[in-house]
């Protein structure tokens, strides 16, 4: 075993119910290099890093993790940290109310005589802050720092644990230009100090600027490892390797299309997050016609879900600074989801468990909740009618459940998704927004959902499909919009859309 490599992950396989997330992944990182890991959403990057850091503990995957020549069996994040591995997550894991120095030494406090030595803590914190070139008062509360500085605190925290392998998960996704540039410089400096960095990123410009090696993952497999010194690391070549896949016939074809007048339109929508003041939507305009499937593509964090929610009665109370929503020729600008539902808009959530379904309740209650009015006979809900409706959808869209009295939480992901779709079909929408409709469900159920979509547009419904999966968007849409950093960066008729074109728009800022 040569000691050229600090880390080798050999033949890593990791399965989730119905999905093979990692399939024989091999991943080698040289000592002291900056190694970038790229791939589409769902390619397996985050899963691989979770395996490495012990989130998915030893035994839940197959294959070997070899660190400094020794096979490791991490059973928790603490295990991997002890061996010098630290992850800087997209969502920072800091305590906003605590000071910078308290944050840096949280979990490995400097002790003297069974109590914390605060003086030494502050002195040490200073030292690590200098290493990441952060000039702040160590006593300042973390919440007073901006995101870029908070990230540096996180790095200082990792350094204070004596880690030798730092993993950055999309570190610049929430940073502005200056902060991003600064972070990349810090990474270069860390490299000089002999610390190895792994960076997951969608921003290929940064990747090509900083990487010594680039590994591309696709569909849970390693596609290639490119050496910056010897191989072609042009963005074009990376994108080709990221997508390089042909669309096969997993998408049912529509025999005839009847796309007519504009059914739904959003004009110049801009919105801010109230808590952070960050602009999440910038001048977004798009439309959908009757009988049309419009794809809304973009990478994670591009603002697609925020856009859908802002339109769908704005339940999370973004501050909408401009823009109008039109449905069937009427200006609507919904204040609550209730109003949106009344006017024929429906939103199938990307997060079934979080805000899509009530898992502890029966299938039938979940299907009926958005349109109970229709089931009311005199003053009470007509049980027979409700069960009838639920059974009808169960048959029509093939929800596999023993009875509609089953708890939704006991169904598989695909069937849960169908329950969600049934709920919204029962509200009789004109426009259906599907947010990542096939995330985390198996191929068979995916096909069924695509077929349902085709049937609905054939009946004259308009569908907006938000999806990170490029092949799916290209396979299903009649037209697509691409979003990046809160803006629409492109609109393509399906005939002109290629994976490379879309990827370029999705990555462009």
């Amino acid at each position: 075993m040569s000691d050229e490599y600090i880390l080798e992950m050999r033949n890593i396989c990791k399965e989730f119910p119905g999905v093979k997330a990692l399939n024989n992944v091999n991943f080698k990182v040289k000592k002291g290099e900056i190694h970038c890991l790229v791939g589409e959403n769902g390619a397996g990057k985050s899963t691989l890093m979770k395996v490495l850091s012990g989130v998915w503990k030893y035994g839940t995957y197959t294959g070997d993790i070899v660190l400094n020549g020794e096979i490791q069996q991490f059973r928790s994040i603490a295990d991997s940290e002890n061996k010098g591995i630290a992850i800087i997550y997209q969502e920072l894991a800091l305590f906003p109310e605590l000071s910078v120095y308290e944050n840096i030494f949280m979990g490995h406090e400097i002790m003297r005589n069974h109590s914390i030595d605060w003086n030494e803590t502050i002195i040490q914190a200073q030292k690590y802050l200098e290493k990441v070139r952060l000039k702040v008062n160590p006593a300042a509360a973390v919440k007073t720092l901006n995101t870029g500085k908070q990230q540096l605190v996180e790095i200082a925290k990792a350094l204070s644990k004596n880690c030798s392998l730092l993993i950055f998960d999309e570190p610049t996704s929430s940073l502005n230009e200056d902060d991003s540039e600064n972070l990349l410089n810090i990474m270069r400096e860390l490299k000089e100090q002999g610390i190895t960095c792994i960076m997951i990123s969608h921003k290929l410009r940064e990747v090509t600027a900083i990487a010594d090696t680039i590994t591309v993952l696709r569909d849970g497999s390693t596609i290639c490892s490119l050496d910056a010194a010897t191989d072609d690391i042009s963005e074009a070549n990376i994108i080709k390797n990221m997508v390089g896949r042909t669309i096969d016939d997993i998408y049912p074809k529509r025999t005839e299309k009847h796309i007519s007048d504009i059914m739904f339109e959003v004009r110049n929508l801009s919105a801010e997050d109230r808590a952070t003041g960050r602009q999440i939507l910038k001048d977004v305009s798009f439309n959908v016609r009757r009988g049309e499937i419009v794809g809304l593509q973009g990478l994670m964090g591009a603002g697609r879900t925020e856009c859908a929610l802002a339109v769908f009665g704005n339940p999370y109370k973004y501050k909408i600074t401009s823009g109008d929503v039109w449905i069937d020729g009427e200006r609507v600008n919904f204040k609550t989801p209730k109003q949106a539902i009344k006017k024929g808009l429906a939103y199938v959530s990307e997060d079934r468990k979080g805000n899509g379904l009530v898992l502890i309740q029966d299938v039938r209650y979940n299907i009926s909740i958005a349109n109970l009015e229709e089931l009311i006979k005199r003053v009470s809900i007509d049980d027979n009618k409700e069960i009838g409706v639920a059974n009808q959808y169960r048959k029509e869209i093939n929800i596999k459940t023993p009875t509609v009295a089953q708890k939704v939480g006991n169904l598989s992901g695909g069937n849960q998704q169908k329950v969600q779709i049934a709920k919204w079909l029962f509200s009789h929408p004109k426009v259906l927004i599907l947010d990542e409709p096939t995330r985390g469900i198996d191929v068979g159920a995916k096909y069924e959902i695509y077929s349902i979509m085709n049937e609905l547009v054939a009946q004259g419904m308009s569908i907006i499909m938000i999806s990170s999966e490029l092949p799916e968007v290209l396979g299903m849409s009649d037209r697509l919009y691409v979003m990046s950093e809160g803006r629409i960066t492109g609109e393509l008729p399906i005939e002109e859309a290629t994976e490379e074109k879309v990827m370029k728009m999705a990555i462009s800022a």
């Binding site: 339940p315 979080g354 379904l357 309740q361 009295a405």
Partner: protein, 415 residues
């Protein structure tokens, strides 16, 4: 029981047909075991109730199951039952109301002052106090929904405020004796019997009990037929029949105990009407569905067009109005309004609801079961009072029973 809320038990009953081949008694027994295992929480509460009652029957040398004491138990439990009904809604929504005890105390005091010191008509006084309850609920509900202050904090503050108001309102007069007969009848009176009955048994009570049994069986059969029609899981026929008979016997026994005394207490009728209304609302109306939806997943409910704030506000209003009713019942039973009324009422109500199977994590709970929980708690109070056990020990015992019930519930829901 178990009419509309099908639980894990129903799933487990899928193999009903296979097991029957082995011999009917054996199969029924096996099924019963599975039922108990999978439905532990709801069976636990019946089991606890029976054990507690039997133990007190033995320890009190048979004083527990006497006509007089059963009547007493009903009157004692009434105000807690009313509070537990309101509390169940609040707990399903993942909130809590700590103030309801003193809202009840204050309501009783204000009603007494109006009737006894100001000479206001009993009905007008009660209506005014109910409106006061509504206003209190609106105030607390608004703080929780519009200002986003956690219910725990809002109602803890309410607890201080209403306790203060209660003490203040009775500061000059001290305890007020209530003399109004109509008001006193609420928790001391009984439904009238047919004139000229000399049998010593309250006939109307037994008639009502028979009607109740018939209605219960009819509802059970209809619900079972309906389930069968849609192939929903049902318990095997032998267990179904046993269950129906058991409940009918309990109803008839309780009615008999009441009938050989003075009949059904008016308090029980008040509780019965409120219970029926709330049970119907929760299981059969849009509002009820929305309450369960919010409790199960408030974000999903909001995105499904449920007005989460409005429903939550309703629950707080209903809680405080019911607290006013509980205040009437308590004051009526004692024939007096005292400054200590309201102390720890909320604890009994919360414990009742949790013992009755309301999920600690919200989203699940039934008002009918909360009443069973009330009987568990109040049987403890009643039995220990019969044994003249000091109030300090009573608190300890109730606390232990409460925490065991909740621990059991949490554990059985985890699998």
């Amino acid at each position: 029981m178990g009419k509309s809320q099908s639980t894990a038990a129903d799933i487990a009953l899928g193999y009903d047909d296979e097991s029957r081949s082995g011999g009917k008694t054996m199969a029924a027994f096996k099924e019963l075991i599975t039922l108990i295992k999978t439905n532990a929480t709801s069976y636990m509460m019946y089991f606890a109730l029976v054990v507690i009652m039997l133990v007190f029957q033995i320890w009190t040398d048979g004083k527990f199951f006497t006509a007089q004491n059963i009547t007493n138990l009903f009157n004692q439990a009434a105000y807690v039952a009313v509070l537990a009904i309101g509390m169940t809604l609040i707990l399903i929504l993942k909130h809590i109301d700590l103030s309801c005890g003193y809202v009840a105390g204050l309501s009783g005091a204000v009603a007494a002052i109006m009737m006894e010191k100001m000479g206001v008509n009993v009905w007008i006084a009660m209506l005014a106090v109910l409106l006061m309850g509504l206003a209190i609920g609106f105030y607390q509900g608004t703080l929780v929904t519009k200002f986003g202050i956690p219910a725990f904090i809002t109602t803890l503050a309410g607890m201080f405020i209403f306790r203060g108001l209660l003490t203040r309102s009775l500061a000059k007069s001290g305890t007020i004796i209530v003399t109004d007969e109509t008001f006193k009848a609420m928790c001391q009176g009984f439904i009238p019997d047919i004139p000229g009955n000399t049998t010593g048994v309250h006939i109307v009570t037994m008639i009502i009990a028979c009607i109740a049994v018939a209605a219960f069986v009819w509802f059970q059969v209809r619900s079972r037929r309906n389930k069968e029609k849609y192939d929903f899981p049902v318990v095997s026929l032998s267990i179904f029949i046993t269950g129906c008979i058991a409940v009918s016997v309990v109803i008839l026994f309780a009615a008999w105990m009441l009938a050989i005394n003075k009949g059904i207490p008016i308090s029980a009728c008040i509780v019965g009407v409120i219970l029926a209304g709330y049970a119907f609302m929760l299981s059969k109306t849009k509002l009820g569905r929305h309450i369960y939806g919010i409790g199960g997943n408030d974000q999903a409910a909001e995105l499904s067009g449920v007005d989460v704030k409005k429903v939550t506000l309703f629950a707080f209003c209903s809680m405080s109005v019911l607290a006013a009713v509980a205040g009437f019942l308590y004051t009526s039973r004692l024939s007096s309004a005292t400054p200590t009324a309201g102390l720890a009422f909320e604890m009994d109500a919360i414990a009742s609801s949790y013992i009755g199977g309301t999920a600690v994590s919200g989203g699940i709970g039934k008002v009918t079961n909360a009443i069973i929980g009330t009987f568990v708690i109040m049987s403890l109070t009643n039995g220990m009072n019969l044994m003249s056990i000091d109030i300090s020990y009573q608190y300890i015992v109730k606390g232990i029973i409460f925490i065991i019930a909740v621990a059991f519930d949490v554990k059985s829901r985890k699998k």
